[in-house]
């Protein structure tokens, strides 16, 4: 273990930790680029533990988005296996994988991707509606979460009537409304100033972290690195650091 608490290599070998929320082994991902093939991930092994806010960091092109996409079941790996709460997700059928995501994973996208023509409560209720929960019941449950995120009074407003920070909170509510066991955030602070970014991360920690829930955040915003429980750094498709803080030389 180095000064920054790095445990590079030590968790990469062996089977899955039974307590792990995500256990990824030997993840390889290639992309076709014309005649050539580009390998973006080179045999990644990593575990994500519940109850922690885990950052995946790295420069653009390091493979962090590809890794997170594979770990949350929206991009098939070229090789390797991923277990999410014990389920080998890429052995599921397509429809089962989609259903698995719907019930177990919450997403917060960098650009929020809220539906512009439905109000905040309905946007936050989308996963529940997709699960088949009656619309009014789903809205009520979403409103409770919006209250918790301090934007209960904005529940009936359309996304365009909300500030960027408020839209971000609606996106957080949408990610958590169905009580998923895994929350995945893509650059949650990229569009926010430093203080807003920290507020959002504090809020996320408050509402998204639970003993039985894992939270993965993909970011290259070093202003919020100190808020992480664990940081996994990627470089050229390989894990170069895995610890509780970033090493000084990063």
């Amino acid at each position: 273990m180095n000064a920054a608490g790095s445990i590079v290599g030590t968790r990469a070998i062996g089977g899955c930790d039974p307590e792990a929320a995500i256990c990824a082994r030997g993840i390889v991902r290639d992309f076709e680029a014309g005649q050539s093939t580009i390998r973006v991930l080179h045999g990644i092994d990593c575990d994500i533990r519940p109850g922690e806010m885990t950052y995946i960091v790295g420069e653009s092109g390091s493979g962090k988005t590809t890794l997170i996409s594979i770990m949350c079941g929206i991009l098939y790996p070229t090789a390797g296996e991923v277990r999410v709460f014990g389920t080998d997700i890429y052995k599921l059928s397509d429809s089962d994988l989609v259903r698995f995501r719907l019930h177990n994973i919450g997403f917060i996208f960098q650009q929020y991707n809220l539906i512009p023509s439905i109000d905040a409560a309905a946007n936050a209720a989308v996963p529940l509606i997709a699960q088949g929960v009656p619309r009014e019941e789903a809205r009520e449950r979403a409103k409770v979460l919006l209250e918790r995120l301090n934007i209960g009074d904005q529940a009936d407003k359309l996304p365009r009537q909300l500030s960027g920070g408020q839209q971000q909170r609606v996106a957080i509510a949408r990610a958590l409304v169905h009580a998923p066991r895994l929350v995945v955030c893509d650059e949650p602070t990229a569009a926010l100033d430093a203080s807003s970014g920290r507020r959002v991360m504090d809020l996320l920690r408050e509402v998204a972290i639970a003993p039985d829930r894992a939270c993965i955040i993909v970011t290259h915003d070093n202003r919020i690195f100190d808020l992480a429980d664990r940081i996994i750094a990627l470089e050229d498709g390989r894990i170069t650091h895995d610890g509780t803080a970033m090493p000084d030389d990063h």
Binding site: R101, F107, F109, I115, P116, S117, A130
Partner: protein, 378 residues
């Protein structure tokens, strides 16, 4: 999710109204043009429809329609009457003539001579006057559309004297008649009067109208007439169909209307296709996010189908209502007199709308289905 799909669609007002316009305009064009086409070609049979009592029309073998006919000798009437199964038979004359109006204008008219005794051959209903006015000397009944042609200044038709092929004719009644294909003025008079009005040739009787005895079918009697007299005999429906076919075969109308209907379809595909593709492309990130969250491709297809169905239903309704309003608005115009929308036409328009939406929806949805959920992280 379907509610969300509808809100996504209606929330983008510009594209929503664009789609409604595309479908509505396409439906209007297809429905309205087909309606005009059907009503117009049915006027090729107006002469038959205006003489509803005649169950069988007997004519020279070369005659084709009420307007394309060759006169027969007067003896044809007796021949027809002698055929077994014929209940009654009356002479019918159709000829062209010229009228000098009070203003001194020249107007080509069709003179129809109906049976002197029974007045069979006259339209069923009268707008003004009684059928019996024809028993008065020099009496003619004009068709209602004809009054707008001869008296376009709004003048009173009843009682007016006309110079009909150098003969005196007095309008004593107005018939509620289906206009002819050319909307020509039609003057009805008794057969014996008509013989005076039209230039004399040896044969002048153009048709024999016949009724069949109870228990006989018009088809069987017509066949018997043909066999026994050597004349051509067609039932009411067959002769009406022949009039319509003549228009279809001898004019460019089907082609022209067909082109317009096709253009309506193409315009629909173009406007709807473009707008729908733009709408889905604008929402591609939202659809990508939904797919990542866990909405299946099948549900996405349902969402797009509901969106297409909604614009299709509203746009189609607008198009059909537009056609109805068009016919109402122009109902007073003699050209559109009696125009109606046959029930088959809205069904054909509906099928066209479904095809338009199926084609455009299929093209547009491919981009959504091809979108990888992982794209939302890029």
């Amino acid at each position: 999710m379907l509610w969300i799909a509808i809100r996504m669609l209606t929330g983008d007002a510009q594209k929503f109204y664009g789609l409604l316009f595309g479908i509505g305009f396409s439906t209007l064009l297809i429905t309205q043009q087909m309606t005009i086409f059907i009503n117009l070609i049915e006027r090729g049979a107006s002469g038959v429809f205006n003489a509803p009592e005649a169950q069988v029309w007997v004519m020279d073998p070369v005659s084709r329609t009420t307007d394309v006919s060759f006169p027969m000798p007067a003896t044809a009437l007796d021949k027809v009457r002698s055929v077994e199964g014929v209940e009654w038979a009356v002479p019918h004359l159709r000829a062209a003539a010229n009228v000098r109006t009070k203003e001194g204008d020249l107007e080509g008219v069709a003179v129809i001579g109906v049976d002197d005794a029974t007045l069979i051959g006259l339209p069923k209903r009268m707008v003004a006057g009684d059928k019996t006015v024809l028993f008065a000397p020099d009496s003619v009944v004009i068709d209602d559309v004809g009054t707008t042609r001869l008296f376009s200044d709004g003048g009173q038709a009843l009682g007016e004297r006309l110079e009909l092929n150098d003969q005196r004719a007095v309008i004593r009644g107005i018939a509620d008649a289906i206009p002819s294909f050319t909307s020509q003025v039609v003057l009805y008079t008794r057969y014996s009067n008509a013989l005076n009005y039209v230039p004399g040739t040896r044969n002048r009787m153009t048709f024999v109208l016949a009724g069949v005895r109870e228990g006989e079918s018009p088809q069987a009697v017509a066949a018997r007439i043909e066999k026994e007299t050597g004349l051509k005999a067609q039932t009411h429906d067959e002769f009406a169909r022949a009039g319509i076919n003549f228009i279809i075969e001898n004019t460019g109308i089907p082609t022209n209307f067909g082109i317009t209907v096709f253009l309506g379809f193409v315009v629909g595909v173009a406007i709807v296709g473009l707008t729908f593709s733009l709408f889905l492309r604008d929402n591609i990130k939202q659809f990508g996010a939904l797919k990542a969250i866990g909405v299946t491709n099948g549900k996405i297809v349902q969402m797009v189908a509901v969106q297409a169905g909604l614009v299709g239903l509203i746009g189609y309704a607008l198009g059909v209502v537009g056609t109805v309003l068009f016919l109402k608005a122009f109902g007073g115009n003699p050209f559109f007199k009696g125009f109606y929308i046959p029930w088959q036409i809205p069904l054909i328009s509906l099928a066209a709308v479904v095809v338009i939406l199926a084609i455009t929806g299929f093209i547009a949805i491919r981009s959504v289905l091809k979108t990888e959920p992982a794209a939302v992280f890029r």
